[in-house]
Symmetry: C2
Subunit: 308 residues, 2 copies
Amino acid sequence: MSITVVGSVAYDSIETPVGRRERCLGGAATYFSLAASFFTDVRVIAVVGEDFGAEQEAVFAAHNIDTLGIEHAAGKSFFWEGSYLENLNEAKTHSTELNVFASFEPKIPDAYRDSEFLFLANIDPVLQRRVRDAMPQVKLVAGDTMNYWIKDHRPALLDVLKGLDVLLINDTEARMLAGNNNLVQAARAVMALGPRFLVVKHGEYGATLFHEPTPRGKSEGGTFRAPALPLEQVIDPTGAGDSFAGGFFGYLASQPEPTPAVWRRAMFYGSVMGSFACERFGTERLQQLSRPEIDTRFHVFRELTHLD
Amino acid sequence: MSITVVGSVAYDSIETPVGRRERCLGGAATYFSLAASFFTDVRVIAVVGEDFGAEQEAVFAAHNIDTLGIEHAAGKSFFWEGSYLENLNEAKTHSTELNVFASFEPKIPDAYRDSEFLFLANIDPVLQRRVRDAMPQVKLVAGDTMNYWIKDHRPALLDVLKGLDVLLINDTEARMLAGNNNLVQAARAVMALGPRFLVVKHGEYGATLFHEPTPRGKSEGGTFRAPALPLEQVIDPTGAGDSFAGGFFGYLASQPEPTPAVWRRAMFYGSVMGSFACERFGTERLQQLSRPEIDTRFHVFRELTHLD
């Protein structure tokens, strides 16, 4: 089954303790779709500028990602510059140029309207809501957000949350959104806002899936924790969270039924894709990856945390 | 097989967001031995003052913990006062009174000399070394330490590390000891100092066991990660790390052979005992605990992190 994703396709200049890359292909929708493409068909809704050409297009094409929904506008693509010199867990933003993204009006190609899965990457919740409303046929909607929207655009974000099945955020965001420092209590408060599944990402410590029993789902409710792989060297953590989301949602979309076992394996595949993303700058590692490598690492994760 | 533990037996005054307790029974050796007592015989080497009486003695006796090695000295017991009002993951120390602990000279009862397991809780590395040297017969030695000894007593600590099979410390301590922010690299550097097994505790995110293949051990080397239980309410995190160590080492000591599967289950039992410790103030929860409750929670942990 296919996933439609709406989000940013961008250029990133990144500095980490290991080195620096100028204007590499980035953006949440890029990482998400590359990661998800190993599991299922992916369609992208985004906007790029005149600096987005055949070379970037080829990255998507090589992974059979449908780019019909990537609008080409006059001007430059979204650009982000950041560094991780002091702390690999948190980017320091040096510059954000919205460029063509400032007036982004998501346009959904008719060919996307039979997508059963929708991922709302981290963009203005007003746009997330618009895309969600325009695709009433989807069976499962997941989304991401960030501290900026939680703090300063709460009403619009709350509107989006009502229409989400799955929210993926990190610890700090979960606590901020709930106004509660206890993760279990925060998770319950967030799920009361709409999403029946909440994935809280803990960076190098893995991620936790919280889910409440509801008449809508087949899950029995509860909690599941996937590890992260202790990495010898983190080259660049940019996009690790979006790659997690891509592996997680891509695997979910590839399965006939979202059974509890499928949700668990999806958490592991998310963690697997996040670990790959950190191994090279930008999307370099995801671009080179093969499905057998993914499944081999899945078994490494299993071995890392299983008793027998 | 029996464990001898050397460390502090103390009184703690603790404040957390939930409330406050004055002078409850505490100390690393107390938490460790209560947790380990559910798995194997435990013998304690410590010093207490005249304020340690029949009521405290009874707590140890109720768990069949051998207190022959607890010396009774003139003066007051070690006293610690701390709070966790802003951050449940890190204590703020308000007062430390060493009292009789200031001149602690560990004395090892002859009856302890057939112990096959030795745990050196977090005390002056000079004392840890002395106890370790005085018990050459032990088969497995584990130890703990803290930032204070790492920073200001490094030569003495390095001497202790040479004689350890297992070191249990937290993330910050591992990175500080190795002078390396990458956990995998830090772990390798710490193991090069002596311990062939390193347990790094991540607080609410669980713990990682690193082990290198050596001719001494049967392990094949590698990494294992045990989860922590997301807790609805943390009443008091004091002693969680020592309780982890007690569950971990107690389980190891209870098994005929330290196979790789035993090390893995030991990590889970450590995490189980750490989770119980947080559920009440001080040692209250460990005092009330039963072995069936422990095994039930072990299965909760399994369910929390296992794919099938």
